[in-house]
Amino acid sequence: MLDVPMSRKVHAHCDGMARRDFLRIGALTPLGFTLGNFLGAKSAAAAEGKGKAKRVILVYLGGGLSHHDSFDLKPDAPSEIRGKYNSIKSNVTGLHVGELLPMMAQTMDKVALIRSGSHNNDHHETATNWVLSGRFGSAFGDYPAMGAVAAHETGFHGALPPYVSIPRNPSFTWELGRSAYLGGKYESFRAGDPNEANYKVRDLGALEPIDAKRASRRSELLSTVDSLGSQVKGDDQIGTYDEFHQRAAEMILSPEAQSAFDMEKEKKELRDRYGHSTFGQSCLLARRLVERGVKFVTINSGGWDHHAKIWEGLEKKLPEFDRGFSALIQDMADTGLLSETLVACFGEFGRTPKINKDNGRDHWGPVASLLFAGAGVRGGQVIGESDKNGERVTDRPVKPSDVSATIYNAMGIDHHGWLNSPDGRPIEILAEGDPIPELYV
């Protein structure tokens, strides 16, 4: 198959074909590895990961993580590209990460690092909606985020909602990563900031003692006065109201739902280990939620959009990330949760190689670093690479649709499946994209 990488400007002939592409396809056959074998091997590897993830934690780095300063350092690049930080060894031979990530350095054996995330958009809203749904659309979110699709496929079971965002969905000027045509029913449940003192999920904590007698009285009164549902049939909003009224009541009354969000139930040492930052405690809350049956949790960590004063910015944010994310991986590995939980971490794009006049980096779609762990993913490997300046992908570009296909495949959701828009139009979950087989090899 002619696997033409997206950015082939490097070493391209005037017609756009890169010579190495011809070599690559041709070279396999003499080794007895035919196209059929190749495709077969790919799908076998992808099948490895299929359905392994009972749940997903997506750590979303809104604003765009600078790959040059975190997971894809270029120590040999000129200083205006290289930046301020040195690389440090990780616990994987040959793999280096940025010096602001010492704890991640000791966790890389459990993480698969993709250095070749790549697309061609540098607009926050458009790119955010693209990477969170896997489909390219408008800045206003034409396609549902992966969590919303997961909620739709799983449905509502038990006291906790299937899709939670911590603290809420990402946003710039307006909210992003929404449920689009799947509607409000599958929108994420906003958990709020678990690092707050006296953290309580909005509207969840019981405000006054409601004993069984009172609860039953309220329920009787409600069913007596509310006859609209029996008079009006065929209206799905009325049906949804009843369903959610029931679920809300369960959440409020159920000790499981209450305790799932009760951060005080965790040992102090563990809370310290994740770090007392919004990000750190969000990671811990995410772990608690997936343990208790929530299917898809998105941790929205914004503020990575360092157009100016990037060193100050990263020196504040990277240590929190380092601590929280490594704690999440290690904690779940220790308890055995990791083998059934897919963890993915990425932003909407990378950042520019050349440092700008305000001592920052700007948006850069063509290269980004992405992290995967858990649910059968083989840790301790690097997939893909970028050139010496971190400017173009030189090997194995990974598109947003490939990332989403991987996540759906891990959840056992057929990404070629169809969902219905409100006007009855069938829409494919993903228009393109393949699970990344190298993650499981």
Binding site: M1, L2, V4, M6, D15, G16, M17, L39, F136, F140, P161, T173, W174, G184, K185, E187, F189, R190, R202, D203, L204, A206, L207, E208, K213, R214, R217, R218, E220, L221, L222, T224, V225, D226, S227, L228, G229, Q231, V232, K233, G234, D235, Q237, I238, T240, Y241, D242, F244, H245, R247, A248, A249, M251, D423, G424, R425, P426, E428, A431, E432
Partner: protein
């Protein structure tokens, strides 16, 4: 299976499906018709389909195209092959069709069969790529192409596509010597692995056409060849039964008069997939009762046909007879045609609460409810609209709804108008609503506003949509105007032709050109007001340069004092040079002002003059503000997009579903569900001088608005024809105010006095968890979808357990606490609660239950607070029904 056997089987199937649909299992056929009446075929191998329809004795038309026997009077001239007539030699033949002892004829003339056939790249080859999906947005048609091969989206730029197919990549995509080996064909048939799969096989019409084209030397777009003038569909506009099928025939009428069968190249879509399905080959199937339309696309043209599928069960015609005003005729005629029984009329309680919520966004107070219920006048309902228009809440509510439409919000986290900008625009809207300003005047005032934002606050519309850009035609303003005033979505056309409608990219930029003379002079709010002047970008730049030069001249003139002769000469020269340059700038600015207004189309580079979306000719006098011409075209009484856009929004607001839905997606390919009602509403609106209150009165006093919300099995699936009132969740601001009103505890909005209601808020910038939760519009885009009326889980959590709601119920200063103190009679307290929350007295069963719960020893206050909680959490409260 032989042809005859196949026809018998098909006929049996047809009869069977009709029987299933509850129709007479053996309809008697009284007449057979064949369409079209005559066919002209040009060139050897030219094909054309036909439709055969059987008229039954009960007046229905059945599609028997696939069952009829079709024969040619001279098969050597025109043969019948797979249901198509095909030209073999020049001549004139008669085609006979027979079915169930009836026959019909049509004439076919074949010509030019001796000339070699050369497929047209524009009219045949590119359409094949469109038809089979090669150039759709998910594949090669997207901006980035697919795997190194890009085509124009849906073939809107054939000249570029030719280059990509033939010239690009050293011509590797075609093999002129052995056409079958061409990469394009190998991929399309998946002979070489193709991500898109096998789009067609090697023995198909599409394949043969492409081979023919390659053999002919892959000719490019032919200069002067006939282009498509219009598209028509045969076989539509019929009444059919659920389960019944109907084949469509799509014909293109070309600029040279030729008419060709384009069915096999057209793309078909259903406007309501739950009612009608359509296959890729144009075979329509009715899924269930209802009505909808099918559209066929070819190149940039669209044609639409409708189908009606009445319910099988007859309905007593008397149910449709009562009409209260001109709106009811079209509504009940349609319901009668579809055999959907209407709901019984609503009660006075329901009408009163409904009218208050829809017209004032406010619940009626208990005293108002009892007064209305107790009023014996026969015309009390008819008198209500005028009473509502006189209320201050009417101005509050409609100013807010217009604020949604005109996107009144802060520009960004900072606003060049300062903090007052949004409020001033809001105040201006309030004045228009209070004066019942005709919609055409209001629209003109917004669109042609000039001057400064302090004196003309409606300039805020431009501030928000243009932002900091210096070129208005390149901003969101263009699409926003089309969406808000014309109900048309043209944003797609910024980059390519519209996928669903006839608008092209050129149309977009022609329309954008109307805004090329807008110059927003943005000033810091502390220094000066931002102004909007009518000035092209070129003129702006020249005048700005002239202004800068003038500023440079002044200090130089001052510095002339006390200088030596030499220095004076030098400085004077500088002044003279600058003055000369300033004069040239001014001269160029004046020329630019007189120059014809044009905008450069980014893809073709052609300069396009302002032209409205219907491509009608416009004249813009030199130096005149093009927006004035645009406003005149828009507000013309015959511009159905302008009047229809607003009247459809009003209709949706009151009745729950627009005649066209979504309301900002009016297009000929998505026609109104009730064309007669559409015409009536537009006529009333325009005829009354674009008077909104006139239309509201008609709606409020019609029978259709006053139908009950309760459904029966026969009409519960109807969501388009208004057989019952569609219960809808109350919107965010209205619900918040309702809760505050019934509990007697107002909300506090930061920066506003306590007691201000949510429907009075000028913009969505106020921090309110409740309003965000319940889908308040952010006004970011012009899309009507910004306001969200759906039910979500967090909303229900909030209503049951939200601190603010629970507190309002319990508050010692609240209404319930006061009632408990002042009124000892529980029945009276309960009555007051029901009247304020539900707008009615409690029913017997409800009163009994409350009485029982009050006498089991529980604390009185706690029981009644629980009742209050139950009322506020009921659908009857949260929905308008």
């Amino acid at each position: 299976m032989s042809q005859a056997a196949a026809r018998t089987a098909a006929a049996l199937l047809l009869a069977f499906s009709l029987a299933l649909a509850g129709n007479d299992p053996t309809p008697r056929i009284v007449r057979l018709t064949a369409e079209p009446a005559s066919i002209d075929l040009q060139g050897a191998g030219a094909c054309h389909g036909l439709l055969v329809s059987a008229e039954t004795d009960d007046g229905r038309l059945l599609d028997v195209t696939r069952e009829a026997a079709i024969s040619s009077s001279n098969p050597k001239i025109v043969a019948v092959e797979a249901g198509l007539v095909k030209a073999l030699a020049d001549g004139d033949v008669e085609i006979s069709v027979a079915y169930s002892n009836q026959t019909a004829k049509l004439r076919v003339v074949a010509a030019e069969t001796a000339t070699a056939v050369v497929p047209s790249f524009r009219n045949e080859v590119v359409p094949v790529l469109t038809r089979y999906g090669c150039n759709q947005g998910g594949c090669h048609g997207k901006e980035a192409g697919q795997n190194g091969f890009k085509l124009s989206l849906r073939g809107f730029a054939p000249e570029e596509d030719y280059n990509r197919l033939i010239v690009e990549s050293l011509g590797r995509r075609m093999n002129h010597a052995s056409p079958d080996l061409s990469l394009v064909l190998a991929k399309a048939t998946n002979r070489i692995p193709h991500r898109g799969g096998a789009l067609f096989g090697p023995q198909t019409r599409a394949y043969d056409l492409l081979v023919q084209w390659i053999v002919a030397g892959t000719p490019n777009v032919k200069a002067g060849e006939a282009t498509l003038a219009s598209l028509e569909i045969l076989g539509g506009g019929r009444r059919i039964a659920a389960g019944q099928e109907q084949q469509l025939l799509v014909r293109g009428i070309f600029s040279d008069g030729a008419v060709r069968d384009l069915t096999w190249l057209a793309k078909f879509y259903s406007n309501d997939a739950s009612v009608l399905n359509v296959s890729d080959a144009g075979l329509v199937k009715a899924k269930r009762e209802g009505a909808s339309t099918i559209r066929a696309h070819f190149q940039d043209k669209v044609a639409v046909v409708g189908f009606t599928i009445p319910h099988a069960k007859a309905v007593d015609p008397a149910l449709y007879e009562k009409r209260q005003n001109v709106l009811d005729g079209p509504v009940f005629d349609k319901l009668a045609e579809l055999r959907i029984p209407p709901a019984p009329g609503c009660s006075d309680e329901e009408f009163f609460r409904r009218a208050y919520l829809d017209t004032l966004g406010t619940l009626p107070a208990p005293e108002e409810v009892t007064a209305f219920l107790g009023d014996p006048a026969a015309d009390k309902r008819a008198k209500l609209p005028d009473q509502l228009f006189a209320r201050p809440e009417f101005v509050d509510y409609w100013a807010q709804l217009l604020g949604d439409l005109l996107q009144n919000r802060k520009e960004r986290d900072h606003d060049v108008r300062g903090s007052k900008g949004v409020r001033n625009f809001h105040q201006w809207l309030r004045e228009q609503v209070a004066a019942n300003r005709p919609w055409d005047g209001l629209a003109r005032d917004v669109l042609t506003a000039t001057g400064d934002t302090a004196k003309s606050p409606q300039i805020g519309y431009f501030v928000v949509t243009i932002g900091e850009s210096r070129e208005a035609p390149k901003t969101d303003l263009v699409a926003a105007v089309a969406q808000s005033f014309l109900g048309t979505r043209i944003l797609c056309c910024k980059c390519h032709n519209h996928p669903d409608e006839k608008y092209t990219q050129d149309d977009y930029y022609h329309f954008a050109a109307f805004f090329s003379s807008i110059s927003l002079d943005r000033q810091k709010p502390e220094k000066a007001a931002t102004t909007l002047a009518v000035m092209s970008q070129r003129e702006q730049e020249e005048r700005k340069r002239a202004g800068d030069l003038e500023k440079q001249i002044q200090p130089l003139e001052i510095s002339l004092k006390d200088k030596s002769e030499d220095e004076t000469k030098k400085i004077q020269k500088q002044i003279d040079d600058k003055r000369k340059e300033m004069e040239s700038c001014r001269k160029r600015a004046d020329e630019a002002r007189k120059a014809p207004v044009k905008v450069s189309q980014p893809r073709t580079g052609v300069a396009l003059a302002p032209q409205p979306l219907d491509r009608s000719a416009t004249e813009i006098p030199a130096g005149e503000d093009p927006r004035k011409v645009l406003a005149a075209w828009m507000t013309s009484p015959t511009n159905e997009y302008f009047s229809g856009s607003l009247v459809n929004r009003l209709w949706k607001h009151f009745l729950g579903v627009g005649l066209v839905d979504p309301v900002d997606d009016l297009r000929s390919s998505n026609p109104p569900t009730n064309p007669a009602l559409w015409k009536t509403l537009n006529r009333e609106f325009v005829g009354s001088g674009f008077n909104l209150r006139h239309v509201m009165t008609l709606i409020l006093t019609s029978r259709v608005y006053q139908l009950g919300a309760a459904t029966q099995p026969e009409n519960e699936n109807d969501r388009r024809f208004y057989s019952h009132y569609y219960a809808k969740r109350i919107s965010a601001e209205v619900l918040l105010d309702a809760i505050s009103q019934v509990t007697g505890i107002p909300d506090a909005f930061a920066g506003y006095p306590v007691g201000m209601r949510a429907i009075q808020l000028p913009d969505p910038g106020v921090e309110s968890h409740f309003l965000k939760l319940f889908g308040q519009s952010d006004r970011v885009t012009a899309c009507a979808c910004e306001r969200n009326g759906e039910v979500t889980l967090p909303q229900l959590l909030h209503l049951q357990n939200g601190a603010s709601v629970v507190d309002k119920i319990k508050n010692p200063d609240g209404r319930l606490a006061k009632l408990l103190k002042e009124e000892a009679d529980n029945a009276k307290v309960v009555d007051q609660l029901f009247l304020s929350v539900m707008g009615r007295h409690p029913r017997e069963a409800e009163s009994k239950t409350v009485t029982r719960l009050l006498s089991d020893g529980s604390e009185r206050g706690e029981v009644l607070r629980d009742l209050f909680w139950a009322l506020l959490n009921s659908k009857e409260f949260v929905f308008n029904h």
